[in-house]
């Protein structure tokens, strides 16, 4: 069975009144939820144990960067979770968004356009490349599609690396202008709040947009294609345009993320958009709970924080333990010298294997998928339950 099809599904129709209320006022729920998270997070970390890790500004910077990955994961969720198209080269669209900002506002390009238009253009350019990638892959499925997208994901950084004249090659493009936004403020390193707020608002908008699309004719078409492409076509769905739209919408979300990212770090190079980035985002989607907007967002946030905060803290923690180096004959084990950040991908791998074995529905699954994965062999029990309910 196709693993993607197996893992992804949408929220179960809810029957209890409070859940029904949340579902009917989805946008409000997203706004309230995001507002709460955005305001509470910077204060939660003032308390132990978090307060000991880093100062508040560093934490908030980290949250903003996590927000970028939340955006990316939300976009990839459209392609992988809803339409069931495995995309292993998703970082390419992130790169395209970032380079759009570099061309729009840097001394290298000799341009200085305002931030919001570049954000829009970045999303559009990424969407265009999404369609360009999607078009030749329309007839491919599963593994073959994954390989082509993998290739695309490799081609884009290689082009940015080698087209020296236009991209400054491996050195990347630096010294980009920091956006000074009306109302929001300037994206400075010292004051992370304007950037943090901007990211939070864009994530909220993306979540509302994706929830609404998912619950519409197009969302159903995507799910139908994921479930059975041939049957979907036999019900009158134009599978070509639907798939291209999935690629375009997914890519445009990554484009937004790319522009935001570049405007903050102000220097980008092709090395920041390799396969590991694509893989990280995919891991976020799978770990969070494929096909579920809140799940994917939370998954991306948690994975990012583990990677950027927890592992760093683990280094410091282990060093403070003052464990002596142990000689076991063949080698010396000195745990205080281990750099846990280097084991990031080993940990991802272990986490993925563990998840698939213990909790295949993801960290934050929705009830329907949970039921699906747990009761696969027990359809009759589900029937009886439905008959009673």
């Amino acid at each position: 069975m196709n693993p993607i099809k197996y893992l992804s599904a949408r929220a179960k129709p809810v029957t209890d009144p409070s859940a029904r209320y949340l579902r009917e006022h989805q946008s409000l729920t997203v706004v309230v939820g995001m507002a709460l998270a955005t305001t509470l997070l910077p204060f939660i970390i003032l308390f132990p144990p978090f307060s000991g890790f880093s100062p508040q500004t560093v934490w908030v910077q980290g949250f903003a960067s996590a927000g970028i990955f939340v955006l990316l994961a939300l976009g990839l969720n459209v392609v992988v979770g809803l339409a069931g198209l495995l995309d292993l080269g998703y970082a390419a669209f992130f790169a395209i968004g970032a380079y759009t900002y570099a061309y729009g506002a840097s001394p290298f390009a000799g341009t200085h356009f305002p931030f919001w238009p570049i954000l829009l253009v970045g999303a559009l350019v990424a969407a265009l490349f999404g369609i360009l990638l999607g078009a030749p892959t329309l007839r491919l499925r599963g593994d073959y599609l994954a390989i082509v997208t993998l290739g695309f994901g490799e081609i884009v950084p290689v082009v940015f690396r080698n087209a020296d004249t236009y991209t400054n090659g491996t050195n990347g493009i630096g010294g980009m202008y920091r956006p000074a936004l009306p109302v929001f403020g300037t994206f400075l390193g010292l004051d992370p709040v304007p950037y943090y707020i901007t990211v939070a608002i864009l994530v909220t908008l993306a979540m509302i947009t994706l929830y609404r699309i998912q619950d519409s004719r197009l969302g159903r078409a995507w799910m139908a294609i994921r479930e059975d492409e041939l049957a979907a076509a036999s019900m009158g769905i134009n599978t070509i345009t639907s798939k291209l739209l999935a690629f375009a919408i997914g890519a445009s979300t990554a484009g937004l993320g790319g522009v935001l990212y570049a405007s903050k770090v102000t220097i980008i190079s092709p090395d920041s958009f390799g396969f590991t980035v694509s893989f990280t985002i995919l891991a976020m989607v799978v770990l969070g709970g494929m096909g579920n907007v809140w799940g994917v967002a939370a998954g991306a946030f948690v994975v990012y924080e583990i990677q950027s905060e927890l592992l760093k803290q683990l280094n410091g923690f282990v060093q403070n333990l003052n464990l002596p180096a142990v000689n076991i004959g063949l080698m010396t084990i000195d745990i205080s010298k281990v750099d846990f950040l280097q084991y990031q991908f080993l940990l991802y791998g272990l986490a993925l294997v563990g998840m698939m074995l213990l909790r295949p529905e993801g960290l934050f699954p929705n009830r329907r998928r949970q039921q699906e994965l747990r009761d696969t062999d027990d359809a009759t029990a589900a029937n009886e339950e439905l008959a009673q309910g």
């Binding site: 992804s8 599904a9 519409s216 479930e227 029937n383």
Partner: protein, 334 residues
């Protein structure tokens, strides 16, 4: 029943489908009278499902063609090896033109512009061709160079279908399955959905009502929010029919709709087919192995054997036809 007087909804003309050396359907002329229930029968491997798939736009006829409601079906041409060649024709022509500008001694800027145009044409055709075939491909199709339609074009033309091995969207609810069937009836675009316009909201609400109406029509009650794959087998068959009906077809193709059902379920299904014909005025074409169904409900029966049509007529005529008996029971039976 005099089918001669009735006009036909679907007609195949000298339809042949070849898979390499195997001729699955051989020069079949066959028509489905409007408002009838027609059955397609034949021993295993007779080419029934192949014929069905060609009609539903899943595969293209090798030769011959299909006429639906008096119009020849060439909605979308085959994306064969010829099409990529078509894509490069405009840009190829522009490249040649660029070459001409050089030999004609025109300024370099002109050559540059033509070259740019060639590049733009290549990108544009690639993009357009992936969404819809280029206009000249369509024109060639109308001339009969290509002969196929994609399944979604056949739905647009008015053909709905069910599958031999049930192909529901198994992780979606019953209502959602029917809503997918209504895809062509809904007119909202993604922007409507993002902005939740009044149009989109009313359409969704009415769509759900109608979907539930279709579920009631096939006697599926109280299962609106059940995930499709959790439904009992018989209900899944019904849901598939509801989904096909929701696309408002004029011709309904049913591929072995009573396979695996017990006699009482089969009897209920037969009643449903009669209702669909009489109340909705649909024409039904079905493939069936259960002779009680075929003989009990069909207005007309067509028998295929080894890809060829060997008999056609009312159930009574077909039942007595020596060729049919031979195909089913072998030569010795006569």
């Amino acid at each position: 029943m005099s089918d001669v007087a009735r006009e036909s909804v679907l007609r195949t003309v000298q339809l042949t489908k070849r898979f390499g050396g195997l001729i699955a359907v051989r020069s079949v002329d066959f028509d489905v009278p409007a408002g009838s229930i027609s059955s397609l029968i034949g021993p295993n491997g007779a080419g029934k499902t192949t014929l069905f798939n060609v009609i539903a736009g899943l595969s293209d006829p090798t030769t011959g063609f299909i006429e639906f409601l008096g119009r020849r079906v060439v909605a979308k041409p085959e994306r064969g090896w010829l099409e990529p060649v078509m894509w490069v024709i405009p840009s190829g022509a522009l490249l040649l033109a660029a070459n001409e500008t050089v030999s004609a001694g025109l300024p370099q800027a002109v050559t540059g512009i033509v070259l740019l145009a060639a590049f733009a044409a290549l990108i544009a055709t690639l993009l357009l061709a992936s969404i819809r075939p280029t206009w000249y491909v369509v024109a060639l199709a109308r001339l009969g160079v290509f002969k196929s339609a994609r399944p979604n074009d056949m739905v647009a033309a008015g053909i709905g279908r069910t599958f031999q091995n049930i192909r529901l969207f198994s992780n979606m609810t019953a209502t959602e399955n029917v809503l997918v069937g209504m895809h062509r009836q809904l007119h909202q675009n993604p922007l409507d959905a993002v902005l939740r316009t009044r149009r989109q909201r009313t359409e969704e609400a009415e769509g759900r009502q109608e979907a539930i109406k279709w579920l009631r029509y096939v006697n599926l009650t109280g299962r609106d929010d059940a995930v499709a794959r959790n439904l009992p087998y018989g209900d899944q068959r019904r849901l598939e029919i509801a989904r096909a009906l929701a696309s408002k077809p004029k011709l309904l193709l049913l591929d072995e709709p009573t396979a695996g059902m017990n006699p009482s379920e089969t009897a209920e299904m037969m009643k449903l087919f009669a209702r669909i014909r009489d109340e909705l005025g649909l024409t039904i074409l079905l493939i069936e192995h259960d002779m009680r169904v075929v003989m009990g409900i069909s207005d007309r029966v067509t028998v295929l054997d080894h890809g060829e049509k060997i008999a056609e007529g009312t159930p009574q005529e077909v039942r007595g036809n020596p060729k049919v008996i031979e195909a089913y029971l072998g030569k010795g039976a006569l």
